[in-house]
């Protein structure tokens, strides 16, 4: 074995004189959802509210910024969802992608934690099933709680309750699930 010592030294030399690893190409994460805005405009005029979610660095890094809002009691709002990828260049309107594939997507908006409000769908896909990019939100009396917005990709839109916004039978994969703190004054 000792006769092979020079060969071993050669191998060691090879190890430490290797070429440098090239810089990896940083991918353009065009699918990443960095921003969600849920804009609520009172049907009969008044102050709108905007709930926002922002997470520019994706799953790792910093925690997302989530801000809910304040709504007026006994008011009907039109809710519209805006979903964007703001770090991609050019900016990607993911809401537009969802609109294009509306039969494969559905949003579910659910109240919890004592929030007294009802949400209804105000749009349909080409098969007549709701999508949820446009909704109608009606507040009742003064309360506070949460509003959860969930987006399911490839759900079963024909399953019982799904068109009424019940996601327990919907299946599919969750693409987003955001909980907003909401106050009704």
């Amino acid at each position: 074995m000792f006769k092979l010592l020079p060969a071993y030294l050669l191998i060691s030399a090879l190890i430490f004189s290797h070429c440098r690893l090239d810089d990896p190409q940083i991918p353009n994460e065009e699918e990443l959802i960095t921003t969600l805005r849920y804009t609520l405009t009172p049907v009969n005029g008044g102050n709108s509210a905007v709930f926002t979610f922002q997470d520019y660095d994706g799953e790792g890094g910093e925690d997302p910024l989530i801000s809910g809002g304040v709504l007026t009691a006994n008011t009907e709002y039109t809710g519209s969802l805006e979903i964007l990828n703001e770090i991609s260049f050019p900016l990607v309107d993911i809401g537009q992608e969802i609109q294009t594939e509306d039969t494969e997507h559905q949003f579910f908006l659910a109240t919890s934690g004592g929030l007294l409000a009802n949400v209804e769908y105000a749009d349909t896909d080409s098969n007549g099933h709701p999508v949820g990019l446009i909704t109608k939100l009606i507040t009742r009396s003064v309360s506070s709680g949460n509003l959860t917005i969930t987006l399911r990709h490839e759900p079963d839109k024909t399953a019982p309750g799904v068109s009424k916004g019940d996601l327990s039978q919907a299946g599919g994969e969750t693409d987003l699930e955001i909980v907003f703190d909401v106050q009704i004054q």
Partner: protein, 769 residues
């Protein structure tokens, strides 16, 4: 007991002194079982050219007289064994010593193949060609499940990896024709890219530190090898076709070989197509599979001292992954667990493969050179090159399902020089130097941050093994040193994205000591003690991403140190009256700095809700267990074999069981072999039972779901072989999961979503000439 024998058959041609004159030559021989050395009485020997047939006597001996000089094909058959064909050049009286695989289940030697004389005191079990061929439509790892102490970790029905004595993944080294299988072996859902049809011999080494191979075989080594090409100058080949009812799968393989003066060559091609498989109660939607494989081998001798072999294989597969297992977050997982039928289950069969799916291409090239310097010294120089390309597709929006979400390419090169010295009979010294280089990059265009970074790894190694055999046994010792350099270029998770480089050097030392001793006529004792260091792999150090299937964020840990482990194995082999055989084995393996995925008490908020975070951490683990194999030959026709294995893994520091430990299992086979009749031979019927207990060694909270219940599976098998002139037609029928039992297995990563496959009948046709 240094048995320098081949797995399938050993031939010692002892030329007897005497002049060849006309047709007065004699061919005689002895036929014994390779595993036990027992003479095989009534073995039938047929000399094709003279159409003579004889039967071996009680000492396993046979003789043909009045033979003319020339070339002969000899066919040897015995009840319960695969037929063997020999090609002989007879120019003087010839004496043969022939090994058949009668007790194939007892094979526990490292096989000696071509240039490798690695018979050692390592504990190993093998599977022979016959058994591989019968089920070559399955994955390579599935074939290994027949060995006591080996289980399989699965990702649905299409992807499987071996588990040896409770360890899997990075801790198992796969050796493909003498090369450490390169590629993305770190992934539990990355099956080894090896075609069973190109594998003539499959061996599992259970001890640590198989010093000649390197890699990171802290948990054991799997060796897949092809045989050297036979000496026969005529064109021989075989055609295989296997149909499986579950998944309506078709597997076709053709293999040709010939030993011409210019070189010996072998060519093999395999095509597999399989559609959605079916659990007892529903289709497993999107579990189809395509596979196209190729193997080419050339062997050439240059003079009497130099031999070369060139081997190339291509493995190209596309595997569908159960559609219902693709989920977005924890609530999806919880919902999937409660569903009796997986989501997206279609009520119709389909051959289509949609996303999620994997497409993998693996090229392997090996050049072996062996130089017999003189009687006592052999120098072997090998080069191996591999290219692995893996693409994984997810269900994505806006037509991006056709863009891979993971796309990795790896180039690797391997060079080794091995020097054998036999200074005197019974002593073997083997030493070697190895150099390995791997360059692994993410291919652009995925639109996703990579799960593992680009990296290059360089390893230089040296090893030395000393083996000494004496009358009643053998002992050996060896040492190996690896210097491993790993350079990785990761992309930061913070914005702006930037490149963060890491450099690591690891010094690994492996030491091994083993002995084998024949205590008396009945019992022999084997022991092996090894110490091994395993450096952390790139996924353990730097991975970052969503862990599909368990819905967690997986984080590498750049501060990981090497794992250090002792493994001690004691084996006892017994043989009573040539009828009853027992192989018992016990092992103990402490692992310091055992690397595992620890769920942190931390949830990370993302756009898809909160995800639990898993980080690679280190602890002190202890594994122990035993394997048992019992075989009883009632009479010439009836044989019963049973295997049991038990493994216990404990995290000593935290006082918790280790996760993904195989449950206790018991397997039993009953085989009835019929005697040969005219053109019919090798006729058999068999029944097989497998009982897997529930894995009770898991605390609540260590998994999303309690381990599934235990289960029993039964299968039936039968086959025969029919001679048509000089060729042979073999057929067999195998029925798996006879009672269509619904069950789930703890080692299947998709156990949260769906049952295992149900009833499956597979029919195999083999034509060989």
């Amino acid at each position: 007991m240094l048995r320098q024998i081949t797995s399938i058959l050993l031939l010692v041609l002892i030329p007897l002194i005497g002049q060849s004159q006309g047709c007065r030559l004699v061919i005689q021989g002895t036929i014994v079982d390779e595993s036990t050395g027992i003479p095989l009485e009534y073995a039938a020997v047929y000399l094709q050219e003279t159409r003579q047939g004889v039967a071996a006597d009680s000492l396993g001996q046979f003789m043909f007289q009045g033979i003319c000089p020339g070339f002969y094909h000899l066919q040897i058959s015995h009840i319960g064994c695969e037929n063997q064909n020999l090609y002989l050049r007879v120019d003087r009286d010839t004496s043969l010593f022939i090994h058949l695989h009668h007790h194939a289940e007892l094979l526990n030697e490292i096989a000696v193949h071509g240039s490798r004389e690695d018979n050692s005191t390592q504990m190993a079990n093998s599977i022979a060609r016959t058994e591989i061929a019968r089920e070559s439509n399955k994955n390579l790892a599935d074939l290994l499940e027949k060995i006591a102490g080996v289980s399989v970790i699965r990702n649905g029905s299409g992807i499987s990896k071996p588990v040896i004595h409770g360890l899997h993944g990075n801790r198992i080294t796969m050796i493909n024709n003498g090369l450490v299988q390169a590629g993305q072996q770190w992934g539990n859902d990355h099956a080894p890219e090896i075609d069973p049809f190109l594998t003539d011999h499959l061996t599992v080494v259970k001890g640590v530190s198989s010093l000649a191979y390197g890699g990171n075989g802290l948990g054991g080594v799997v060796l897949a090898e092809s045989n050297p090409i036979e000496a026969d100058p005529h064109l021989h080949g075989q055609l295989n076709y296997i149909f499986q009812s579950n998944g309506r799968g078709h597997t076709v393989n053709a293999r040709l070989q010939q030993n011409r003066p210019w070189a010996a060559w072998m060519l093999s091609g395999t095509f597999k197509r399989q559609g959605d498989q079916r659990a007892p109660d529903y289709f497993l939607t999107n579990t189809g599979k395509k596979e196209n494989n190729l193997g080419i081998q050339f062997e050439k001798k240059f003079g009497s001292r130099w031999a070369s072999r060139l081997y190339y294989s291509l493995f190209d597969t596309e595997i569908g992954i159960l559609r219902g297992s693709h989920i977005g977050n924890l609530s999806d997982l919880e919902e999937a667990i409660t569903r009796p039928v997986p989501f997206y289950t279609r009520d119709a069969f389909s051959y289509g493969i949609g996303s999620p799916r994997q497409a993998v291409v693996h090229h392997l090239l090996k050049l072996e050179n062996k130089w017999l310097i003189n009687e006592k010294n052999i120098l072997s120089i090998h080069y191996g090159g591999q290219i692995n390309q893996r693409r994984e597709f997810d269900v994505r929006r806006s037509g991006r399902s056709d863009l891979p979400a993971l796309s990795l390419r790896q180039y690797s090169h391997f060079v080794e020089g091995i020097y054998h010295v036999t200074p005197r009979p019974g002593v073997l010294i083997k030493s070697g130097l190895q150099y390995q280089y791997a360059y692994n990059t993410n291919q652009p265009g995925t639109g996703v941050l990579p799960l593992i970074p680009d990296y290059q790894a360089l390893t230089g190694s040296a090893f030395g093994i000393y083996q000494r055999s004496f009358e009643k046994g053998q002992w050996e010792m060896g040492v190996r040193y690896d210097l491993r350099h790993l350079a990785a270029a990761t992309i930061s998770r913070e914005l702006p994205r930037r490149i963060v480089r890491f450099n690591n050097n690891f010094n690994n030392i492996n030491v091994s000591f083993g002995g084998k001793y024949q205590l008396n006529e009945v019992l022999s004792l084997t022991t092996n003690l090894g110490y091994v260091l395993r450096s952390p792999e790139v996924n353990e150090l730097y991975s970052f991403g969503l862990h599909q299937g368990v819905s967690g964020l997986e984080e590498g840990n750049p501060r990981l140190k090497q794992e250090k482990s002792f493994k001690w194995i004691v084996g006892l082999d017994g043989a009573v009256n040539h009828k009853f055989f027992i192989q018992a084995l016990g092992y103990l393996q402490p692992i310091w700095d055992y690397i595992y995925l620890q769920p942190l008490n931390e949830f990370r908020l993302t756009i898809r809700g909160a995800f639990p975070v898993y980080q690679y951490m280190q602890t002190h683990a202890l594994l122990y267990g035993s394997d048992l194999l019992v075989s009883y030959e009632w009479n010439k026709s009836v044989k019963w074999t049973s295997r049991a294995s038990l493994v216990i893994g404990q995290d000593q520091s935290r006082g918790l069981p280790l996760v993904y430990m195989p449950a206790q299992s018991l397997q039993s086979d009953l085989t009835y072999s019929f005697g040969d009749r005219k053109r019919w031979s090798g006729t058999y019927l068999g029944a097989h039972g497998k009982f897997v207990f529930r894995q009770n060694r898991l605390e609540p909270g260590q998994d999303f779901l309690l381990p599934p219940y235990g289960y029993s599976l039964f299968s039936l098998e039968g086959g025969s072989s029919y001679a048509v002139g000089k060729s042979r037609l073999k057929f067999s029928l195998l029925v798996d999961n006879l009672f269509n039992t619904p069950y789930r297995d703890y080692l299947n990563r998709l156990r949260y979503y769906a049952d295992e496959t149900g009833f499956n009948a597979s029919f195999r046709l083999n034509y060989s000439f």
